[in-house]
Amino acid sequence: MFNILKRILPLMLLLATSLSGYAQQYVLKGTVRGADNKPVESAAVQIDGQPIFASEQGLFRRDKIEKSTVQVRVEQIGYDPYSREVTLHPGENTLDIRLVQRQKNIEQVEVTGLTKVQEINRQAFTVSAIDATKLHNTTLSLSDALDRVSGVRVRETGGLGSSMNLSLNGFSGNHVRFFIDGIPMDNMGSTFQINNMPVNLAERIEVYKGVVPIWLGSDALGGAINIVTGNKARNYVDVSYSYGSFNTHRTVINAATTTKKGLTFQLSAYQNYSDNNYKVHLEAHNNRPEGYSKPAEVERFHDTYHNETVIASLGVVDKPYADRLLLGINLGKSYKEIQTGARMESVFGAWHRRGNLVMPSLKYSKNDLIKGLDVVLNANLNLGSERNIDTVNRRYDWFGDTGARLPETSGERGAQSMYKYRNNEALVTANFNYSIGEKQTITVNNVFNNFDRKGEDPLNPLNNEYELAKTTRKNVLGLGYQYQVSDLWSISVFGKYIVQNNLNGDDASSSAKKLGWGTAGTYFVSDALQLKGSYELTNRMATPYEMFGDVENQSANPGLRPETSNNFNVGINYNFSAGQGHEFDLTAGAIYRYAKDFIYQRLEANQGRYVADNRDGVRTFGGDIELRYHYGRWLSAGTSWTYQYLQNMQEFDEGFTNVSPVYKDQMPNIPYFFGNSDVQVRFDDFSGKGNALSVGYNLQYVHEFYLYWPSQGLIDKKNIPGQLSHDINALFSVADGRYNIGLEARNITNQRLYDNFSMERPGRAFYLNLRYYLNKK
């Protein structure tokens, strides 16, 4: 991408020079160079405190400087700080910055500038950041990308659009919170979820394991994932289309245009479609002797999924009153056919769901509103609705309509339903960062959530359950303090105060208040070796879904208590070189968690529906390790492995006085050992200058795990078998990445993959991806 910048730069310069005399403004550009006069990649150049990042070639440029004297500072790992006052003359000024390599370590490490991803990884928190831009030529969704992070396991019930559950160090479901650009995604509806969002939407994905920084204001129990869409370039077009197995089509369009005056329009649109008609294996059954008498392979026939989403925003950038002020709207809809219930035996042929998203939003940010104070404000309101449609009174099996009729007013799953609801969720977030000098920062963060469900079912208009008030108001207030000695050590402490008030109908109202706190520290033993430690006493409130149910499969439990966890993390990061360009990066971490009043899903007494409930305790020990290797730009490889042991700490089962037979047993149905490895080889200037070919391989392994309690039973244990899958990909890009052709083969050995018991995932699949990317001024 930076190559494009290089090409366009002369054009930019030309434009800038022709315009520069226009107003009393100054332009400062130049190059940051380090040892041997080599450019320093991605150095942060501060011009009067406003940072801009230099390009891969060390080039930087700032337009529209309104003062004739500015302070230029560069702080770069491995170099002595650079600071100089520069007097500008009208028009363009050139400043070549020479950084002096810091004396220590000079012989050990060849230090290059940090990318934003590396910078995130150097925080005190246990965090893994993924550079999503490297995946932009693939057909991965965000959840596929997350699945490659150590400690993360994404479980899906089927193909594209199927319901998914992400587990992070053993915590899953609502214990892990998702954010997009720091804004909680808690309930953006089924249309806007990480398993249907293309990876191209993100510039970076940050995975906070356990302890969550204060500026991600939310009540996560076991970690958080922040998807950073970034500002990217100011003017660009990025279009990709892919087609592949199971009639899967995906299109992504990202574009932005920004005028000289700072008026900006940004558009992201994407579409996914798949028949998901992959083959599944059936055990012999007796119901349809012609089909079930032998084990069989059949295609899924009622599993079509599609969604379409447009995210548009209009606003201004780089104004004195705002770095960014955007009014936006997210519009989307989704359609999902439901092929099975929780087990392959339950087959449906007509039941489906629809969802739509109408979400206006406001985003504001300004750094140095007063000196040292950075402000971010966000607000949005989700007016979208979800609808469950089950109106066909027939019984299906894997061979289609069985001919069996259910009662006249029955659906496939009970009484006919067209229940439709809106949750009217509103969200307001505010973040204030105040820097006192260079070492101290105070952060105040507040997140307010409002939930007010209204629903109706034209087929069951009398069901008064739909009429009851279901409202929740939640406020999370956080305060944090950080002291940092750059590149040596930092420590932060923070507290969070959460208040939630709920109203369920006229009779059940509840409220809860919880105070939590945490601390995170890091120490750089050397530039190459970083130690991290963090602790948080964290609280999570029950979500509206857990409290009010979904009026379908989830029953209400307004009496749920907030859950609490003690999270400890330690980590180490070590970079080393084996000489001659062989670079290694080793990251390892260990975790301990003890969660009390743990909220989990259980079946109701009559097993008709699920209900959320509190359980006494769950304890987790775990560790993960990741090793990455690269040799220049030519070769990169990595492997990451995770082990986690979750233990049931509920000593007494409810209603019984003896110690539970499964006390201290390993928690079932949670993958506990898994990992992946990848190798990527890149050939620059392949068949022509500016062209590149890269070929990659990815392996994923999940060790066999238990569906039910490991200690119980012997025969026919319903274990989920160990799985090993291999993906390969090839990418050819032309004209410095403007045109890209990608080919992917997933699960090339066609292994039977299961994430949940007996629920098969797709076998071997092929995808072709075409992408056009243009970035210009």
Partner: protein, 410 residues
């Protein structure tokens, strides 16, 4: 690239060693506990639980556990029935189709014969070579209940049909079958009347009557509905209220648990009672009525087990503990010939009993029954009932969970 090779082989080695370990935990047979009795156990843990099937040769002694033992069933909330010398493990499927696994016993161990799928139903009973199953509506706007004949030879649904339960009740409410029982070549289906609407789903305005629908088999045409206004309805939800004796007489009990609201507002004025339909007739014998509340000193019947020779093990509750669903912990012997009731001795103290198993076993010798007694400790026992002596004797100990059924196959 040596380093690359090294990395790859390291990854492969880790993967392979990981594969080798611990992948054969599900193989093998059960050498410890063999026999022709099948015990079904639901763990006490509230989450991620599966039922376990245990086999044993004796109900009278020893101990058995689900710890590292038993055949794991997919999910809990299962119903078990034996018929045609096969054991059926049926998943109550929450409105989904219900998966069924069929077993027989070979050399004292369970042997899986087939997987199949039926409907989720609220009543089922062996009739001829079939298991007759009924999916019963509880929604006044949808008064259709559906029956299925599941053939235990072919293991397929051999026939199905609908019943309009609003027409059957004929009182503005819905009829809800408490259970199905084969009597001669007919099916007797006692039912209760429910409002089937809104908050009072299982409540009724007709609390003081008993009904039994009589169906021809296999076409399930309605022959007649037998009424009785001396008692409240027969049986209870998911519970068989009829027993056929050796001479063909049909005895029925009423728990007297009709309510106005489907919860605790009992509105029947009738006592818990036992009535009779004489062999060869399709009417209640108006000359036969046991007022069980009077006979037992205030108890109400919640379930019973027919031992033969006109003797029943009766599970009952006090008036104060009367409720719609759970089986009573008070165990006694009812002799319908002498119309006498005796509590058995030798049972654990009532406060220590968590629940009595609903699905118990009798060799039908007129004297012996084996009942599951689940204690609040979580440790459970089979008690052997001797009807003549009116005693209960502690037998096999079960650890790991609640005993939900005792079945036997030849």
């Amino acid at each position: 690239m040596n380093i690359r090779k090294l990395l790859l082989s390291a990854a492969v080695v880790v993967s392979l060693t990981a594969c080798d370990k611990n992948s054969d935990g599900d193989a093998g047979t059960n050498p410890v506990n063999k026999g022709n009795f099948i015990l079904t156990v639901t763990p006490t843990a509230a989450t991620d639980v599966a039922d376990y099937l245990l086999t044993t040769g004796s109900l009278e002694e020893g101990s058995i556990t689900t710890q590292g033992n038993g055949v794991e069933q997919d999910g809990t909330y299962r119903y078990y029935v034996t018929h045609n010398n096969k054991f059926f493990s049926m998943l109550y499927g929450q409105g989904n189709p219900g998966a069924v696994t069929v077993y027989d016993i070979q050399d004292g161990s369970l042997n899986k014969l087939a997987n199949t799928v039926t409907e989720t139903v609220q009543a089922f009973a062996p009739v001829n070579d079939d298991i007759l199953m009924m999916k019963i509506s509880r929604n006044i706007t949808d008064p259709t209940s559906t029956w299925y004949r599941f053939n235990t030879n072919s293991l397929t649904i051999a026939g199905q049909g609908n019943v309009n339960t609003a027409e059957l009740a004929d009182n503005g409410e819905l009829a809800f079958y408490s259970w199905l029982t084969q009597v001669g070549n007919k099916v007797y289906a006692p039912f209760f009347s429910i409002k089937a609407c809104c908050e009072a789903g299982f409540g009724t305005d007709y609390p003081d009557q008993a009904w039994v629908a009589v169906y021809n088999y296999p076409d399930m045409t309605l022959e007649k509905v037998i009424h009785d206004d001396r008692t409240s309805f027969i049986g209870r939800y998911f519970t068989d209220g009829l027993s056929v004796t050796e001479n063909g007489d049909v005895y029925a009990y009423s728990s007297a648990i009709a309510t106005s609201d489907g919860a605790q507002d009992f509105n029947t004025t009738k006592p818990s009672s036992v009535t009779r339909i004489n062999a060869g007739t399709t009417e209640f014998d108006q000359s036969f009525l046991i007022n069980f509340e009077e006979l037992s000193g205030g108890l109400n019947i919640t379930d019973w087990l027919y031992l033969g020779n006109n003797k029943f093990v009766v599970f009952s509750n006090t008036e104060a503990e009367k409720n719609l669903f759970s089986t009573g912990n008070i165990v006694g012997i009812l002799d319908v010939t002498t119309q006498s009731y005796t509590k058995v001795s030798g049972m654990p103290e009532l406060k220590d009993i968590k629940a009595i198993t609903q699905n118990n076993y009798t060799p039908a010798d007129g004297n012996t029954g084996y009942i599951g007694v689940n204690l609040t400790t979580g440790v459970n026992y089979v008690y052997k009932i001797d009807a003549n002596a009116a005693t209960a004797t502690r037998g096999l100990k079960i650890e790991g969970g609640t005993l939900t059924a005792i079945e036997h196959l030849d």
